[in-house]
Amino acid sequence: MTAPHVLVLIDASPASRMALASAARLARQQHGELIALFVEDQDLHASAGHPFTREISRLSGESRPFDRETLLTRLAQQRHQIEAMLSELDRDTPLRWHLEVVAGPVFESVRAAAETADWVVLGKAGWSAGHGARLGSVARRLLESGGNRLFLWQAIDHESHRWRGSEQRLSRLRGPSRPTAPPSADQQAAVVGLLLSQRTAEAVVQTAEIIATVTDRPCHLFLLTGIDPATLPSLTAWRQAGDPPLIVELIEAAPERHDSSVDPALFRNLQQTAASVVVLSDDAGAVLGRPLTDLIADIPAPVIRVPSPPA
């Protein structure tokens, strides 16, 4: 059996740095190889070549010239930063990794690289997602294309917990340029698994156990009524082993919803359990009556989408 490949889509952003750390930990636990993929978007290259192209600031709405020189300088800086980040990874603990830099269309480049990967790790909110925690277009298309286990990483959104005024307080206490809090702020938050169909439950349990082991966290499984736990050998074995700590909770099937927001009962469960990561299968959207991409976008935590086993 070949060593599993963990593919992480990377740029130089702080969120990307965090995703890289998670991917590295996963690769180590799996004794696999980490492949860092940096895509130089061909559309950006093409766009920067036009004399009339401008970049419109997301913050101010003001436009400024955007040419190839600017783009190339930025890309060179990003590569340099990525290389530095990767070098840090095996400084203390050995890790096999390599950086792939490709130029081309982003989604196609990622899909091509993902074909040989067992895990794909990328940020939930991509550049094209605009403001807020919407799902990035690349992530959305990867979800729709099925395939590997997809780890959609997301920085813990403190706003969702404490939006009341913490921004003012923090800016007063620490200055306006406070860095993003690391995702491991709450070390005891559980790995949450959603067992929503008999067909995919076993795969979700297996993935949840891997993640709980990797992250040394307890696991909380929500089991939809109707699924027989006795038919899940991984769950039975896990229960017998007793490690990592495991809680299984039965949940009722949610009534069908007509809006696109997340099921409130599920959302509250996730909040109360303080999920560090949510593992679900690619039929979760169908079971809960919502598009999977919308469901994942609304979950305020990193998500691992597990593909359904072949029929």
């Binding site: 740029d11 952003s13 978007d41 061909q42 559309d43 950006l44 290259h45 093409a46 766009s47 920067a48 070549g49 036009h50 004399p51 009339f52 192209t53 401008r54 970049e55 419109i56 600031s57 997301r58 913050l59 101010s60 709405g61 003001e62 436009s63 955007f66 930025r74 269309p105 991509g126 550049w127 094209s128 997602a129 605009g130 403001h131 807020g132 925690a133 919407r134 706003e159 969702s160 917990h161 404490r162 939006w163 009341r164 005024g165 913490s166 003012q168 307080r169 927001s261 409130p264 959302f267 509250r268 909040q271």
Partner: protein, 799 residues
């Protein structure tokens, strides 16, 4: 002929108090007196001063030290205060508008601690109620809805642009900093080469579309901060609503409970507003209000009158500036001195507000700035807490300016008379602010009813100081001692402190002898013990006289020398001793030289006395002519200052002896002052003086010739020691009372002074005739000298 002097009998030297006259066995049977005996005037003044309204009618209780003024004033004021209602309690609270100026709350006497408890309870409730609301599902759901709405709005606005771009074949690509727009065909952005090959019209159309979309995108992106602001406002409104929910019920309940006190309900309203304004300051992890904010919702109850059953009566034993008007404490944090309204501390004026404040005048005058502070507070009718550093800008630190407290207090100063008269003389404010003087008597008449009142006072002292009861003998001896302390057989010393000290000592002696009661012998032993402890100096002086170091002969006769009597007082112990007075006489021009005065050892009163006796000699012996006398007077072996006029009779006798060359009996000592007419007047310390001379004579051996000449007007003051009385009773010592100088001269010289006839001539062989004859010789000698000078004006003598 002059009236004969009166030789006093032993029973004229003392007024005993017979135990049998006292209608009780021990003081345990006696109730305390309803009012201090003999102090009606002072009590009347206290009554007037405490009942009259404002206008500077504060009081000064004046009287001798140890006269028991404080106890009387305190008892009186406490009795008076019981008739008044307790004054309000006072508290400081945080001023939300101006934190440096804490607000004052005036509360009914018993309401202060209720409000304090209510607010403590309220703050406790805040600690749980506020997190409960802000951690609730509802709050989180509403926050989530708000966020979703806000994000959706942004997303949809940008998605609309993106969709329009797509329709117009323009790609909107994200960059790390924003967006770019480019011509889009066949799933990708056209590169510049391909674009350049397009017809110019098409290129322009695409560029126009891009420009238009860019403008729209800019517009949307520039809207986002406004939407953020709007979202922030909605969030703030939500938070405020939640805070109102969290605290509203408790605050409303308190507002209803305290609706009758407008200031309190205002403060509660301010708490509500403040909490809402601090909704963004809740602790991150627990949603609790930070303690430093909660502390602002409590009160600093600086004066709590809940336990009072009348007006307060406060005595401040250390009336410093700060202890009078209160102070603001500071705490040290990170190198700075900080404070807040909870560190305001009340002063005596705060605690006494609505009642009475007792101060010792001497103590307040000794404290820097305290007197001015007190006057300013009384004048301004308010207490403003200001440190001396603030007042005089010595140095500054962060401090507060609390609201001043309206002041309604009667101040009673206690002090001695000298201080009262000095203040009245030199401090113009004093007369305006302390208009009522409560003048305490030093003595009270010794009558049967007063003796019983005095016994009640002793009973009260014994009870107060937890002493054994006094039996009637002890009371009688104490009454006698009080007469002696008053220097008057018909009076009793009003001061209670010396008596209290004596009784404490007697009680100790009674305890040592396992007695159930204090008896007369215990009191007597205590008196002797007090004397013994204090008499070291007297013993040394007596020893010096007995050994002849000090020349005080008590036998034989001398010309121009006499034993006078002086009283010394050191550390509260008074004793008398004889002093040697000598005189010389020679021709001159009517001069009596006071050697003490010349040596600057004599005081003004003594100087006056010498002038009086000079004029007496002149009018007595040279009424129609010049007194051709040059005389001198001196107190021998006295190295300290001399003052008073009680040696006048002795000085006249010494001068007469010197002029007439008539010897004086040294076995007698003399005391008394005279006026210009030769009448003998009363002096002070008569008992000590007699006992002082008696002691010397007794130690040298009494032979019946010894005695003391005193003014007849001092007879009521005699309360002499048992030893003196016994010697007088046995005829071994005599006390002569005289009205006129001639009576004393007769006793001292054994010569009849003689009265002048119609021509002014004294009988032959009389003492006064010898005086006038000698003065006549002086006159002739003086005239001779004067004639000689006239003949030889240059002063050059023959020869």
């Amino acid at each position: 002929m002059a009236d004969a002097p009166t030789r006093l009998d032993a029973d004229q030297l003392y007024r005993p108090c017979h135990p049998g006259s006292l209608p009780f066995e021990t003081t345990a049977e006696l109730e305390p007196p309803s009012a201090p005996p003999g102090q009606e005037r002072a009590l009347e003044a206290l009554s007037f001063g405490t009942e009259i309204g404002d206008g500077g009618f504060n009081l000064y209780a004046l009287g001798a030290t140890g006269s028991g003024k404080y106890a009387v004033v305190r008892d009186f004021l406490e009795g008076r205060a019981r008739r008044d209602a307790p004054p309000p309690s006072w508290a400081y609270v945080y001023n939300f508008d101006d934190p440096d100026k804490p607000r004052l709350l005036k509360l009914p006497a018993r309401a202060g601690r209720d409000l304090q408890a209510d607010l403590e309870h309220l703050v406790d409730e805040f600690r749980t109620a506020i997190p409960a609301v802000f951690e609730s599902d509802e709050y989180h759901n509403r926050i989530q809805e708000l966020r979703e709405t806000y994000k959706r709005r942004q997303h949809e606005a940008i998605a609309a642009i993106s969709k329009e771009a797509e329709e117009r074949h323009v790609a909107m690509v994200s960059t790390p900093n924003g967006f770019t727009l480019g011509p889009y065909r066949d799933g990708k952005i056209l590169d510049p080469e391909a674009f350049g090959k397009l017809p110019e019209e098409e290129q322009k159309a695409w560029q126009a579309a891009i420009d238009e979309l860019e403008a729209k995108l800019k517009q949307v992106l520039q809207q986002i901060p406004k939407w953020q602001k709007e979202a922030g406002e909605r969030l703030q409104a939500l938070n405020e609503e939640m805070m109102r929910v969290a605290v509203g019920q408790q605050l409303q309940a308190l507002e209803d409970r305290w609706a009758h006190l407008l200031d309190v309900t205002r403060f509660l309203g301010a708490i509500r507003d403040d909490l809402i304004s601090h909704v963004n300051d809740l602790e991150d992890d627990s949603s609790t209000v930070p303690e430093e904010i909660l502390n602002q919702y409590q009160i600093n109850l600086i004066v709590d009158n809940a336990e009072l059953h009348g007006a307060p009566v406060i005595y401040e034993d250390l009336p410093t500036h700060a202890r009078l008007i209160g102070r603001i404490e500071h705490y040290f944090r990170e190198g700075a001195l900080l404070t807040d309204f909870r560190l305001i501390r009340a002063g005596a004026l705060h605690r006494a507000n609505g009642g009475y404040l007792i101060l010792h005048a001497r103590q307040i005058l000794m404290q820097p700035f305290a007197w001015e502070t007190l006057k300013r507070a009384i004048y301004g009718k308010q207490v403003r807490i200001e440190s001396l550093e603030q007042l005089y800008a010595v140095f500054t630190t962060i401090t507060l300016e609390p609201d001043p407290i309206p002041l309604d207090v009667k101040v009673v100063l206690i002090g001695d008379r000298l201080l009262y008269y000095l203040l009245a003389e030199y401090d113009p404010d004093f007369a305006k602010l302390f208009k009522v003087q409560a003048d305490f008597e030093d003595t009270l008449p010794r009558q049967a009813e007063n003796e019983l009142d005095y016994a009640r006072t002793l009973a009260a002292i014994a009870r107060r100081d937890r002493l054994r009861p006094l039996d009637r003998g002890a009371v009688a001896r104490s009454i006698e001692h009080a007469s002696r302390l008053a220097d008057d057989r018909d009076k009793l010393a009003a001061g209670t402190r010396p008596l209290a000290d004596l009784l404490a000592e007697a009680n100790y002696l009674a305890g040592a002898s396992h007695a159930e009661h204090i008896g007369a012998h215990h009191v007597e032993a205590a008196i002797r013990a007090q004397e013994r402890r204090a008499e070291r100096l007297r013993e040394r002086a007596v020893e010096a006289i007995l050994r002849g170091t000090l020349n005080v002969p008590t036998q034989g006769e001398r010309i121009g020398a006499i034993n006078g009597l002086a009283v010394s007082e050191l550390g509260g112990f008074r004793f008398g001793l004889p002093t040697r007075i000598t005189a010389t006489a020679r021709p001159g021009r009517g001069q009596v030289v006071d050697i003490e005065r010349e040596a600057k050892l004599g005081g003004n009163i003594h100087a006056k006395a010498v002038m009086i006796l000079s004029r007496y000699l002149g009018s007595r012996y040279a009424p129609d002519g010049e007194l051709s006398l040059s005389a001198s007077l001196a107190f021998e072996q006295m190295y300290g200052s001399v003052d008073g006029d009680s040696a006048s009779v002795a000085e006249v006798a010494a001068l007469v002896s010197a002029i007439a060359r008539a010897p004086i009996r040294q076995s007698l000592a003399v005391t008394g002052s005279i006026n210009q007419l030769g009448e003998v007047q009363a002096i002070g310390g008569v008992n000590e003086k007699i006992e002082g001379f008696f002691r010397i004579c007794r130690d040298r051996g009494l032979d019946g010739s010894h005695g003391v000449i005193i003014p007849a007007s001092n007879r009521p003051h005699l309360m002499l020691d048992q030893a003196v009385r016994s010697a007088v009773g046995a005829g071994r010592f005599a006390i002569h009372a005289v009205d006129r100088v001639d009576q004393a001269l007769a006793l001292l010289t054994g010569l009849e002074p003689g009265e002048a006839d119609a021509n002014g001539a004294f009988p032959a062989d009389s003492l006064n005739r010898r005086v006038t004859d000698r003065l006549a010789r002086f006159a002739r000698a003086t005239r001779h000298d004067r004639d000689h000078e006239h003949r030889d004006p240059d002063g050059a003598g023959p020869g």
